[in-house]
């Protein structure tokens, strides 16, 4: 009797398995390379968004591959060349254009046609290349000139009016240094990597320098020398702490150890996470403004946002687009990840959800939207950017850390760019 009952159970189980097989066969697994799940501050938010997508799309499973931000571009190039790229990847900066140049990306024009109309034109225009739309904007994270109101006040400066010109900045830095000799007066990334050139590019432009890219005047110019000389002055006066990556300044500004910081919009999230202060306290203690204007009468910014790319080897392009579109445009996903977790700006032109619209109605976002984003200057991204970055940032480091004549350094940078 027991044997008969057992056999029945086996039969029923087998039937259930066979019934489920067609459904299982239709399941799609998308590989998604990203650094959002590799970083402690964004992992939870990203995993929640992925879970929600899987719930809304039962036939699609996401295999999230966590890769550190500095590694992801390199790994994607190597994976394209070895024929095993993921379906979708999170990417940023020059890496987006590096992957596009490598020929491994799927143009998204046919997928994104109607969606683009719902986005801010400036958010996707940089990715419309001769190879088509090579990336979908996921979020916007331009850089601004952050300042600590408490430190400015303590140094006898107006906490509501940060320096508007480089001359004002020089004077303000001297006052801050005098009042607080042990803090970092200006936090800026002077490491030697592609991101550092991306971050320093607006400063070079403020001095009128255009060492590479369209209409380049080269590195051996009075403008570039003025920029290098200013950087040397910053180091000699002890205003900057060379060699630190930009991320290393973020916890320090939260601790009141940095007066001015040249960094992206996401700094607010890092400061609030590190110090536990609420929005009102944050706005009372910190502010953000456009870069102080340089010789050309203007300051600039750079767009450091993240994009999503689809690889042309993906066998599940429709599902991959569904996922990309969800991350980039779904309002619930934008609120959970882009705004609340990553503290950046969604690319959408408007929002139906009043709660999402309200969460973006902050003094920081207002400052970025009205006065900083319009100053974004295009970067000379492309296959040669990393090589140029090595040469230029090595020159910047030399200017900052040695007594070698600026003229020689500028000439050396140029000779390396010419190679």
């Amino acid at each position: 009797m027991a044997r008969i009952r057992m056999s029945r159970r086996v039969l029923m189980l087998s039937a259930a398995v066979f019934a489920a097989l067609p459904a299982m066969a239709q399941d799609i697994t998308l590989t998604f390379a990203n650094w959002a799940t590799a970083e402690a501050t964004t992992r939870d938010g990203m995993e929640q968004v992925i879970a929600r997508f899987e719930e809304a799309n039962p036939g699609i499973r996401i295999d999230s591959q966590a890769i550190a931000f500095p590694e992801i571009g390199r790994q994607m190039v190597l994976r394209i060349r070895s024929g095993n790229p993921p379906d979708v990847a999170q990417i940023a900066g020059n890496d987006t254009f590096l992957l596009a140049a490598s020929g491994g990306l799927q143009a998204l024009d046919d997928y994104a046609g109607e969606t683009l109309a719902t986005l801010k034109p400036g958010s996707y225009a940089p990715f419309q290349t001769e190879k088509g739309l090579v990336a979908m904007p996921w979020n916007q994270a331009p850089a601004g000139f952050w300042f600590s109101r408490d430190i400015l006040k303590g140094a006898g400066l107006d906490p509501d009016n940060p320096p508007a010109t480089i001359e004002d900045l020089n004077a303000a830095m001297a006052k801050v240094k005098e009042a607080y000799p042990d803090i970092i007066v200006l936090g800026m990334d002077t490491t030697n990597r592609a991101f550092s050139l991306q971050s320093n590019w607006p400063w070079m432009r403020a001095f009128g320098a255009l060492p590479i890219g369209e209409g380049a005047t080269g590195a051996d110019t009075p403008e570039m020398k003025a920029y290098l000389g200013w950087m040397r002055m910053l180091a000699q006066e002890g205003y900057i702490d060379p060699g630190r990556k930009i991320g290393e300044f973020r916890p320090l500004i939260a601790q009141g150890q940095v007066a001015f910081l040249w960094d992206q919009v996401l700094v607010q999230g890092v400061i609030q996470n590190a110090s536990g202060i609420d929005d009102a306290t944050f706005n009372a203690q910190f502010g953000v403004a456009p870069m102080p204007a340089g010789a050309l009468g203007s300051g600039y910014s750079f767009e450091g946002g993240h994009q999503l790319v689809m690889f042309d080897k993906s066998a599940q392009k429709d599902a991959a687009w569904k996922f990309i579109n969800y991350l980039a445009t779904d309002e619930a996903a934008a609120k959970l990840y882009t705004v609340d977790t990553n503290r950046s700006i969604p690319p959408a032109a408007s929002f139906a959800d009043p709660e999402l619209a309200a969460s973006l109605d902050t003094p920081v976002i207002e400052a970025f939207s009205t006065s900083i984003i319009p100053t974004i200057t295009p970067e000379p991204f492309g296959p040669d950017f990393a090589t140029a970055a090595t040469a230029i940032m090595a020159g910047v480091q030399e200017a900052v850390t040695s007594d070698r004549p600026i003229d020689d350094i500028a000439a050396d940078i140029q000779s390396q760019l010419d190679r």
Binding site: V77, A101, S102, D241, G243, T390, V400, S402
Partner: protein
């Protein structure tokens, strides 16, 4: 025995007991070696005469010796060679001297205190290289670094020194970190060679009233020589290839003042994706290492 018979007997002795089947059993090992060592070397040699950019759709093209002639006129390459030699030999010579000196000083220190002292000396060897690099990076920091804080507290310096952000100080600062982690290796080598000296030899030296320096020079140094030579060779190869410490502490900067060959090859291959040029650099690097190894082996054989 006829003249030459002894030599002939010596040569034929190994052949007598040889079984062809056993000889054949070496073949799988040779195949594995050819795959894991031979293939990358041959592949690198072939790439070194090609232009091959990973971010370019174009297939690799043969360019003859152009990569090598470009390297010859590449100032950064020569800076990297100079830095590599300073980094490698600066580390190995100082670490070997310090390791040997510490082994000699602790030789006769027994009991719990001696064991504790040996454990302290050896402990840096157990710290992973990347951790060493981060550790010293934080120690050297211009603002908030322990070293500057201590020196300022003692009144030795008035203002923080940018150890890793000064073109003249960065390489010596990294070498100091490297010496810290390499010295225990030489300490272990020399300590074990000293413990291998027969008591009878030391006893007879004492009977002959040999002083400390005479015993050191005539008895201990000869015992220490071979381990030091072999250890130095291993460490020269290891430091020639050392990437982690330099990359974590300075990424080859400021400027190119700490760029070593391995850092330069990495930048060329995995930041600029110029695999042909990077392979040519790798070939030169391999030749430099082979020459160094050959010189060392010759030195060692001469001693034997």
């Amino acid at each position: 025995m006829r003249p030459g018979a002894a030599k002939k007997a010596h040569l034929s002795r190994p052949m007598r007991g040889r079984a062809p089947l056993l000889d054949g059993m070496v073949v799988p090992t040779l195949i594995v070696l050819a795959l894991i060592i031979g293939y990358p070397v041959v592949s690198t040699l072939m790439l070194s005469v090609q232009q091959y950019d990973l971010i370019n759709d174009a297939a690799p093209s043969y360019v003859g010796m152009r990569n090598f002639s470009d390297i010859a006129s590449d100032q950064i390459f020569w800076t990297a060679v100079k830095n590599t030699l300073i980094y490698t030999f600066g580390t190995v010579f100082v670490a070997a001297f310090l390791g040997a000196a510490m082994a000699l000083m602790l030789e006769n220190l027994n009991g719990p205190f001696g064991n504790a002292a040996r454990a302290i000396v050896v402990s840096p060897w157990a710290v992973p290289f990347v951790v060493v690099a981060f550790l010293f990076r934080f120690i050297y920091m211009q603002k908030g670094g322990v070293l500057n804080a201590v020196l300022m507290h003692l009144g030795i310096i008035e203002a923080p020194i940018p150890w890793l952000n000064d073109s003249d100080l960065a390489l010596p600062a990294i070498i100091v970190a490297n010496i810290w982690t390499t010295t225990p290796f030489f300490f272990l080598l020399v300590a074990s060679s000293l413990s291998g000296i027969p008591d009878a030899v030391l006893e007879s030296a004492r009977v002959d009233r040999a002083g400390t320096w005479a015993t050191l020079y005539h008895i201990k140094l000869p015992y220490m020589r071979n381990p030091l030579v072999i250890g130095s060779l291993l460490m020269i190869i290891a430091n020639f290839n050392d990437f982690a410490k330099v990359w974590v502490m300075t990424q080859g900067g400021p400027g190119f003042s700490t760029t070593t060959l391995v850092v330069y090859v990495y930048r060329m291959a995995f930041e600029n994706f110029r695999l042909g040029y990077a392979s040519a650099l790798g070939v030169i690097w391999l030749i430099l290492l082979l020459v160094t190894a050959a010189l060392y082996f010759r030195l060692l054989r001469g001693r034997d």
